[in-house]
């Protein structure tokens, strides 16, 4: 019989995500999938399974979950407060959640999207080759309290593993290459664009991240004459009011707004994970530099598994530390060991 993970409490924007549905662009559908695909590879490395397994993506905050069988989990992406039956769980690590236990995941501390991976993945029905919700296309839906998610069979055993912390949280410098309309912006506008410290707007979602700024917009005459053409995740569109939007994996397939640049795929998780108000600024790199960075990123994803190490528990995080017999066999410094107990 298939075991399930029951959603007891659901944050406002939790969805099932995997690596998405490539191959349907010609018919109007972008790939979709996890906003931070790096996290899927981390979860896979921690659980020793393929990155194609489906995970729960939690935007902003998590929820409470109870598995119907002993369940290996991994927690990746933006760090969230997590506990199992009240005992704190380390983020960026794998754990065992016993059948019937309550796994609780709170608000994001340093990023936008946290991920809950399970051993064996989720075994929900495939829709067009993927289990990912693509809300913009009407596939799947936001997870709700009471949902029961079928669990795939888990052939792995290891838990209590961790990965070195990633630096992709909290925004920062984002590398971009020239895009379709970059040349139609004058040098002064491009210089102002790369000198501007933008802030992630609160309205950012899986389709795109709007960037706030204080000065005038980044308009171009090209905006009036663009015939609708392909757009890809990472493209920075300048909308009608002059504000930049970084397109994410659930964006549309075509667009008619000018694009001032395109974010390197390896830097897109950093845009996805910038929380509301976080600083984002852009630097143009040439194609050779971009390809070198992207190649390095892809090879790092492949070797993530070799960076997994056993989790050393932090005594400060053990809730009932005083209940542990930590000094078994120790002797008293003041008692006379030769004196017989009476």
């Amino acid at each position: 019989m298939t075991a399930h993970l029951t959603v007891q409490l659901a944050g406002p924007a939790m969805t099932l995500q995997d690596l998405g549905r490539p191959g349907y662009r010609a018919q109007g559908m972008t790939v979709g999938g996890a906003a931070d695909p790096t996290a899927l590879y981390e979860g896979a490395a921690l659980l020793g399974q393929p990155p194609t397994h489906t995970a729960i993506e939690m935007a902003g905050s998590g929820g409470a979950f109870t598995p119907g069988r002993d369940l290996r989990i991994a927690l990746t992406g933006a760090e969230m407060a997590a506990s199992c039956d009240g005992e704190t769980l380390t983020w960026n690590a794998s754990h065992l959640v016993p059948a019937g236990a309550s796994l609780s995941i709170g608000g994001a501390r340093n990023g936008a999207y946290g991920y809950l991976h399970v051993g064996g993945g989720f075994d929900t029905p495939l829709v067009m080759g993927s289990r990912a919700a693509h809300l913009a296309c009407g596939i799947g839906s936001v997870l709700q309290a009471g949902d029961t998610l079928p669990l795939g069979s888990d052939t792995g055993h290891a838990t209590g593993m961790t990965l070195p912390a990633s630096d992709r949280f909290g925004g920062g410098k984002i590398r971009i290459v020239a895009s379709m309309q970059t040349a139609s912006y004058d040098a002064e506008t491009l210089a102002r664009f790369t000198a501007t410290h933008f802030r992630r707007d609160a309205r950012a979602n899986r389709m795109g991240v709007r960037l706030d700024f204080d000065d005038e917009g980044f308009s171009s005459d090209a905006a009036l004459s663009i015939v609708s053409e392909v757009v890809v995740p990472g493209d920075i569109q300048i909308s009608g009011d002059g504000a930049p939007y970084v397109l994410m994996f659930e964006c549309q397939t075509t667009g008619g707004y000018p694009r001032i640049g395109s974010v390197l795929p390896c830097d897109l998780p950093r845009v996805a994970q910038a929380q509301t108000g976080a600083d984002l600024h852009f630097e143009f790199v040439d194609m050779a530099d971009a390809i070198a960075r992207q190649s390095r990123y892809l090879s790092e994803l492949k070797t993530l598994k070799s960076r997994v190490t056993p989790l050393i528990r932090d005594p400060a995080a053990i809730r009932d530390l005083l209940g542990y017999q930590l000094i078994s066999g120790a002797i008293s410094a003041t008692a006379n060991p030769l004196e017989k107990e009476s």
């Binding site: 010609a26 109007g28 559908m29 829709v127 053409e229 995740p233 549309q252 395109s262 390197l264």
Partner: protein, 245 residues
Amino acid sequence: MTDWPKIRTVGLSGLLVTFAAAMTEPANRAALAFRAAVEAQDWPDVLETSTSLVSVFVQFDLAATPVAAMQDRLRDLLAQQDWIAAPLPSGRTLWHVPTVYGTDLAPQLEEAASAAGVDPDEAIRQLSTSRVRVLTIGFAPGQPYMGELSETWNIPRQQGLTKSVPAGALVIAIRQLIVFTNATPTGWRHIGQTAFKTFRPASSAPFALSPGDELVFPSVSRETLHAIIASDTTGNGGAETEAIK
């Protein structure tokens, strides 16, 4: 050598071959024909291809295949023939999609007719007999942009947005028609209503239309459309199809 076609990189996602600076029928035909030619090459490093109005996107991993190598391959293919004069690809379908024009189901028929300078009856006569081609699919899954209608229908989008038109709505602007996939706000005028579902995610064939397919929207009564809706299990909304020879 003219400036067209142009080949440009799209981020690190691929190359875009553009045949013209603006939408024209020959440039759209060139895009459809050239995409079919790229597909026929079956290059193993090409992940997917797609067209927009006048361009072809060839997606590949720029970190795995050198850009210059793919550019050379595309230039060689471009040099093989005059793509602007190319015939449309084979294997296309002609669809007849029953449509209610005007009434409360499609309240902007009269407004569109007036913008085009014809009376409503003449508008329905022209629109219900015009055969249009899927120029591109986009904005929403399976959603076709179809054209080109006669110059009479070179009417602008309206200034404001209609708050929401329903799925299956037939809308018009700039010599083009769209059947909407989902209910959506729009600046295009709502002239007809169909029961045609452009996107069927639960089906083994989730997308009804392909770029290059052709459509006619014959006029039917409200009663006929309601009967179609009551009995339709396929999503075709009563549409009939024939292969384009």
